[in-house]
């Protein structure tokens, strides 16, 4: 797991919007015009992370919500973050 992710402030960039659909969360990168889909669990993870900004805070909330181990949630969330960062759908922000 990339250490910077677990300690950074993470946020959905301004050029990315996402909306809930019946069976997926759809992200739109306005800069590229590309759409991306997340399954319901990943969509919930993204929404939680975007709301609280900090990785560990999101892990705590999601662990309670999904009734899973913190290690499992942490691993899954980190993988999701990596993929979203690669695609420019998430960014690391300076907390100041």
């Amino acid at each position: 797991m990339e250490p910077r992710i677990t300690t950074a402030h993470l946020a959905v960039p301004e050029h990315v919007v996402y909306r809930d659909f019946a069976s997926e969360t759809v992200l739109l990168n306005i800069k590229t015009g590309q759409y991306h889909g997340l399954n319901p669990v990943a969509g919930r993870m993204l929404e939680t992370l975007d709301r609280v900004s900090q990785f560990e805070a999101a892990v705590a909330l999601l662990t309670s919500e999904f009734e899973e181990s913190a290690d499992r949630i942490s691993s899954d969330l980190a993988e999701l973050c990596e993929r979203l960062l690669e695609r420019g759908l998430l960014e690391i922000r300076d907390p100041s």
């Binding site: 919007v17 909306r19 809930d20 659909f21 019946a22 069976s23 997926e24 759809v26 739109l28 306005i30 015009g33 759409y35 889909g37």
Partner: protein, 333 residues
């Protein structure tokens, strides 16, 4: 700032009485008769409601006013070397739509002014482009999403029929009109979400029936529906009564031709972006705000409106199909 408006263009017949209509979500004031767009009832202060002006202009003034520098082609139909239709966009001037037999049309960048430069042909001929492309483009610029679909009103709700060209959307809508439903829109539907509920805006009141469909109707059927105003390209154009209010969308049917092996009605359990966007219209308007709006409306549709795959069975007439669809829609409540 390059804005092309009535002060820049040479208007044809600027003194004619205005034709006001609420269509595609727009409060229109047209400088010519447009029977395909039902006239808004006269009311005190109606002028204050107008938000979109549509005028006839001379083609040479439109060509001269369009700024070539800074404009780019965003839409093209037909072969590249000899396109049937082109759309050029200029960030300040707007969109210039040209379809060779129908003329040139400007839609201002904010969608509030439209200039029409048609050739000297019957009104019902060139206004097919006005209602089929130009007004939908203005509606898209004004925050509505436009879908390649037809819609009818039964009771207090609308049913929409979307699908590829030739799937049977218009024929199905026609049969619903014969069964007593009211037309909301034909071929192009503008969708909005006032108060967080998906609604269909009244569109064109001109139904385009194929010659085959018209010949299947009993003599006088079309005349009972409305006024036949012309024929072109294998279709009969009929002006019919139209719903005047935005109507909540109850069900969206996606029509597909089928071989009969699978069930006719299938409610889609995971409606996604693709289901909605494949029927989206005026794709040449490519702006961030429109993309976000499309996503908002598609999300609302997926979460609140049943979307039914309707497999059109081989050998079924449009009349029989309408009967089955009406029964299905009633059963859905």
């Amino acid at each position: 700032m390059i804005a092309i408006g009535p002060s820049v263009l040479r208007l044809r017949a600027p003194e004619v009485r205005r034709w006001n209509s609420r269509s595609f979500g727009l409060e229109l004031s047209l400088g010519f008769d447009a029977p395909g767009l039902p006239r808004a009832p006269a009311a005190i202060g109606v002028g204050a409601l107008v938000d979109t002006t549509v005028d006839l202009v001379y083609a040479d003034s439109l060509r001269a006013a369009w700024p070539r520098a800074g404009s780019r082609r965003t839409g093209l139909m037909g072969p590249a070397e000899r396109p049937v239709m082109t759309v050029d966009e200029h960030p300040e001037a707007g969109y210039l739509i040209h379809l060779r037999p129908y003329g040139r049309y400007l839609v201002s960048s904010d969608g509030r002014f439209i200039a029409c430069a048609p050739p000297s042909v019957a009104w019902w001929y060139w206004q097919r482009l006005l209602i089929g492309q130009v007004l939908p483009a203005a509606a898209a610029l004004r925050g509505y999403e436009v879908l390649h679909a037809s819609a009818v009103r039964i009771g207090d709700r609308a049913l929409a029929f979307a699908g590829a060209p030739g799937a049977g959307k218009s024929s199905l809508a026609l049969r619903f009109l014969q069964r007593g439903a009211t037309l909301v829109a034909e071929d192009v539907v503008a969708v909005g979400d006032p108060l967080g509920r998906l609604t269909v805006e009244p569109g064109a009141a001109m139904v385009n029936v194929t010659d085959d469909e018209a010949s299947l109707s009993e003599a006088g059927d079309l005349a009972k529906l409305g006024q036949v105003v012309g024929r072109s390209h294998g279709k009969v154009h009929v002006i019919v009564p139209r719903e005047e209010r935005a109507t909540p969308l109850a069900v969206m049917y996606l029509l597909e031709r089928d071989d009969g092996a699978l069930p006719m009605f299938e409610e889609l359990s995971g409606v996604g972006v693709a289901h909605v966007f494949r029927n989206s219209f005026v794709s040449y308007i490519y702006r961030a705000e429109r993309m976000i709006r499309q996503l908002d409306l598609a999300s609302l549709l997926a979460r609140t409106v049943p979307v039914i795959r309707l497999r059109v069975q081989p050998g079924w007439s449009a009349a029989r199909l309408a009967e089955a669809v009406e029964a299905h829609a009633e059963a859905m409540g």
